[in-house]
Symmetry: C2
Subunit: 284 residues, 2 copies
């Protein structure tokens, strides 16, 4: 276990009503040099893996707690890369990933939380939402798909939903991967210019980029309305991938350390079992 | 991409009617020294991650192919460790893990394949079954829970099911993690003696150990009846964890290389998109 860190990344990145986001290219907390951050992420890997194992074990032992990481951000902000580099540090047994794309015809016939509820983590798991129910207060608003009264009432519904999750034992960590429009331009260019990256490009990304300011306004309202004590939002400066990975790993570590998952107590006597084990012997 | 290897791990480990398993403590193929195997596994990691990305990309592009890794083995044979060390090498976005424990009351009211079908990988994914439908020709047989005629007809059902998966684009890789009873004794002892490992121990493990030979016979019949050309079984000597991890990584690499996943063709013109991208400019 690495030594206790004294800087709280959660405190540094938490946002909500009236708080300003840090610039996407800055380093408000932690290492601001790549080699240090990469080494640190490797060390964090062991720590995060141990914490995840304890959470998983607690779940096996009958505990009800789980963690849900919600990842939001503009196209190319690095949601998939974060999953690979940060969640890739822990045993996939304990991770449940769900990506939410444009709703299907079936999904549209249901309440927007219907498809979300089907992908929630079970006790012991770390759930990861790559996009989430927050798309339902982003896309319909910016693209004017539903009346304003309709998407406006969703903030309260979402807060109630997340409170319900908390009451059931799920700690929700909401991360906004914050990139600058300049960095998005570089990444979209790279996707178009590199054949092996071209599959990640979607011509519709340009429509969303053209509405950049509308999306930023919609995000600002999300942070104002839904960054609650129960489920706060963290804005991660994400222009530097290595820094983004370090921050998200630390957000998870701080959160699970606060949860303090416990290995379950044995409901058997180890000494008795050891004697029985000797008695079973080796067959064949 | 690492250089092409000439030894086929699949050929070395494939089992079925009339073939002998290698001893669980031996090294029939590949490295037989731990440092070499660990270094090699790290190299394999990059290779496996690239292949997985191509499979995932193919799925995003509309392809229908996926991979399903079925892990079976006696208690402590290392199913969870294999998931952590081998599947942990690829992006969790593309991995769908499902563990199958003792069926619940609801599951028992359905056909035994009902719960299995709900966890199949979707196109582009690597699915991992930690135990599987093969439990249904193991436990009911050894514990005499259903008549012999009942579990005997399941072999043909399972072969038909796996053929159906293959027809739908899913390549099934079935791995038996083969440990010796002596190694199981050591691992069960370690679970009892190490407080942080105790949560993995279940007193019922001793009952299964007492029936070791019955389970081995049931496995032998599984290999005889269900190691098909479509979905062959591989017996992985698993007394050495580092060797087991190396072998399973190589089984996956060889399998996905043979599948040859292709990055999808762009359904847009990159040059046109680059021009449009410049036109959108930088907002704000």
């Amino acid at each position: 276990m690495a030594k206790k860190d004294h800087v709280s990344v959660r405190d540094a990145l938490r946002i909500g009503k009236g708080t300003e986001r840090h610039d996407p290219g800055t380093f408000p907390v932690g290492p601001h040099k790549k080699p240090k951050a990469l080494k640190d992420l490797l060390d964090s890997g062991g720590r995060l893996a141990k914490l995840q194992e304890a959470l998983y074990a607690e779940g096996v032992g009958g505990g009800n707690r789980s963690l849900l990481l919600v990842l939001q951000g503009m196209d190319t902000s690095g949601k998939g890369g974060t999953v690979g580099h940060v969640l890739g540090l822990v045993n996939p047994m304990g991770v449940r990933y769900a990506g939410f794309k444009k709703p299907t015809a079936t999904e549209r016939r249901h309440h927007y939380l219907w498809r979300i509820r089907k992908q929630l983590p079970v006790p012991g798991q770390i759930g990861v939402f790559d996009r989430s129910h927050y798309e339902d207060v982003l896309v319909p608003r910016v693209q004017k798909l539903v009346p304003a009264a309709e998407w406006r009432k969703r903030y309260a519904e979402i807060n109630a939903f997340e409170q319900e999750l908390a009451d059931a034992g799920t700690t929700v960590v909401k991360v906004f991967l914050d990139i600058s429009p300049e960095e998005q331009l570089r990444r979209l260019k790279a996707r178009l210019e590199t054949p092996a990256k071209r599959w990640k490009y979607n011509p519709a990304d340009l429509d969303a980029r053209a509405q950049w300011n509308d999306y930023q306004q919609a995000y600002a309202d999300i942070f104002t309305k839904t960054s609650t004590t129960t489920a706060p939002w963290y804005a991660v400066p994400a222009d530097h991938k290595w820094y983004r990975n370090w921050l998200v790993a630390r957000l998870l570590i701080e959160t699970i350390e606060e949860m303090g998952p416990k290995f379950p107590q044995a409901d058997f006597d180890p000494e008795t079992e050891l004697k029985k084990l000797e008695g079973v012997g080796v067959p064949g």
